[in-house]
Amino acid sequence: MIRQSKRFLQRCAVLSLLTYLFLFSVPSQAELNLELTKGIDRALPIAVVPFAGQARDASNSDTKQAQQNIAATIQSDLQHSGRFKVTDPQSIKRFPHTADGINYRYWQKLGVDDIVVGNVEPAGIGKVKVSFDLIDVYGKAKTGPGGSNYLLASKEFVVKKSDLRRLAHHISDIVYKELTGKAGIFSTRVAYIVVQRTQGKPPQYLLEVSDFDGYDPHVLLHSDQPIMSPAWSPDGKELAYVSFEKKHAEIYVVDVASGKRRLVTSYPGINGAPAWSPNGKQLAVVLSKGGNPRIYTIDLATNKVTVVTRGWSIDTEPSWAPDGKSLLFTSDRGGSPQIYRVNLANGKIARMSFNGSYNASASFAPDGQEIVMLHKNGGLFNVALQNLHTGTFNLLTNLGQDQSPTMAPNGSMVMYATRFGGRGVLAVASTDGRVQMRLPARNGDVQEPAWSPFLS
């Protein structure tokens, strides 16, 4: 008895000790704490559901109706940004048009994170009312108090039918901003030169402006003499360009809306490669009035010209840093064309490119951390992106006949001229290297694209 009770007591003591340990040690262990520090770099899977009131199949994109198909335009926009993996519209079997009718499981199983749904309905003569919702298909789950954050964006517009495509770009911008944190460039435009060559006739030169994706082109200038190097003013209202209409190079500025233009420089020799300062008050240009081509700045208010680079090398293709304090330019001062940077305050020059024997046509990304350039390697010209801090150097294109890279105002894409089917076309590449896309071909060779700033 005594032995048993003793043992019992000891057992009890051990038990109580264990219980104590259990009680006081378990709560901290009951919940498992995990730290995750890595993810994947992948395009966001998204589905854009055909808007109610519009055709579900917009694969034939040549018709006007198809071009005004909002879902198709958004799909194209997002897909070509490189940041999104847009679900093939053919695989969509459900067509909700508001956030209320969402079967979340269905979209989760379809493998998307977000969906865009919308509705188009008549709103008077020649007008339509368009509404859309951007929905996080994983957001419907309980997320604590007020957990209705599945609806990321919801808007309604009344527009002219002819503006449906522009509206679609606008919706793409909203979606892009919401999901990537950066402003979308789908409402931006691009200026470029079209050279139309007809047999037996002198070539015709056109300065055109279209949507960033090449749709809705407008001819701004028409000349039988070369037009070159269009450049957008920071406010997007003007374009500077080089015209040979007087048989020699001159730099003009044209108002995009009105078509009015004015002459800026007409020096002997080269007047080329205009570039607007970030504040819009100056142009950086290349002039050869001093002998060999050098970089100058021109005050647009006074037309006062200031030389920036000196020496006997050929310096060209100036491009402003976002802070306006320095310029990138191409120079052969090292023996072969390379990218240099000149400090406008003290004139100091530093070489920026070290990869290969030919780098040219550089410009800054909007954050000033990267520069995009044309890189020649083994006779192939491709667009390259160089990070100024890490020194990483990546080719964004691989077609080998690329020219004139111009960066989108949000830095997410680069447009360039290339050749396809025997003629010059425009193409875009995402700066993450995921996507390359050709813009619709124009009637002629397309050259020297210039991406507009954000247009309000």
């Binding site: 005594i2 032995r3 003793k6 043992r7 000891q10 057992r11 003591a13 051990v14 264990l18 262990q29 009951a30 919940e31 498992l32 704490n33 995990l34 730290e35 995750l36 520090t37 890595k38 993810g39 994947i40 770099d41 992948r42 395009a43 966001l44 940041r83 989760q108 994170d113 996080d136 994983y138 957001g139 789950a141 309980k142 997320t143 604590g144 954050n149 999901l179 990537t180 944190g181 950066k182």
Partner: protein, 301 residues
């Protein structure tokens, strides 16, 4: 004193009674002669009185004769009676004397007897007393013996008790020691078992924790343009089998895109790899995840 009084009265009683009886008989004879002339059957029946009556009752004549004779004889008789009386008295006296003598003798005898008896009684008493004494002594002896025995017994039991106690204490001490050793051993074993179990559990937990981490990381699309120093804290509730039941943003990173990407990654990874054993699974019911987009998985395609 009483003895002497009794003796005096009894010494005159007998002769007196005898004299009265004789007189009575004679009177009765006188007055009953006639009637008794006819023998009665009853008289025949009586044997002894018949003898007495026969001798006296004859016939009337005889009776008168007799009476005369008697009357004659009465004087004689009276004389005789007187003599007799005197004789009787004398006899009585003698008898009384004898009786007294006898009584004295008897008395003596009695006394002797009493004496003897007394002596005997005394003897007996003495013997009894001796016996009693003896018995008493024996009893006493026995008592003392018993007492002694008792004492001895008590002592023995006491001894035994003490011994037993000592033994018990020793045994207890031994048991205690053994018990302590056992307890220590048990505790050590328990501890070792607990540690082993904990290690095993921890091993399993770690294994699955790594798998869960990988499973989510492989699905976590790090949003563009995200601050790498930010982190999102999620609380994930799992059902057995690893199905993600609920994901709560406990601490927002400040960028809803990061929060959402983390949450979507967890849901996409559902069901998460968890141990099937219920006890093991309990550790995975609630996961606190901190997602910090420090880098990108290089193996991902």
């Amino acid at each position: 004193m009483s003895f002497s009084v009794e003796t005096k009265t009894s010494s005159y009683k007998l002769p007196l009674i005898l004299a009265i009886m004789v007189h009575a008989i004679l009177i009765w004879f006188i007055f009953t002669n006639v009637e008794l002339a006819v023998p009665t059957p009853v008289a025949q029946k009586r044997q002894k009185p018949v003898d007495i009556v026969k001798a006296v009752a004859v016939n009337q004549a005889q009776v008168e004769d007799e009476i005369a004779k008697i009357k004659a004889g009465q004087q004689q008789k009276q004389q005789r009676q007187a003599a007799q009386q005197r004789k009787l008295q004398k006899l009585a006296q003698q008898a009384a004397q004898a009786r007294a003598k006898e009584q004295a003798r008897l008395k003596q005898l009695k006394a002797e007897q009493a004496k003897l008896q007394k002596l005997q009684a005394q003897k007996q008493r003495a013997a009894e007393k001796r016996l009693a004494d003896l018995k008493k002594r024996q009893a006493a002896q026995q008592q003392s013996l018993a007492k002694l025995e008792k004492q001895q017994a008590v002592a023995a039991t006491e001894n035994a008790k003490q011994e037993a106690l000592a033994k018990q204490q020793a045994a207890q001490a031994q048991q205690k020691k053994i018990a302590q050793q056992e307890a220590a051993k048990q505790a050590a074993e328990d501890k070792a078992a607990t540690q082993a179990r904990a290690q095993e559990l921890q091993g399993v937990v770690n294994k699955y924790a790594v798998m869960i981490k990988q499973s989510i990381e492989q699905r976590w699309i790090i949003p563009d343009n995200i601050n790498k120093d930010m982190s999102t804290k999620l609380q994930v509730r799992l059902a057995p089998g690893g199905t993600v039941v609920d994901v709560r943003v406990i601490t927002s990173s400040g960028d809803t895109r990061l929060d959402r990407s983390a949450r979507a990654a967890v849901f996409k990874a559902s069901p998460l790899p968890v141990p099937s054993e219920p006890q093991m699974f309990d550790r995975f019911r609630v996961l606190n995840l901190t997602l910090r987009p420090e880098g990108v998985l290089t193996s991902s395609t």
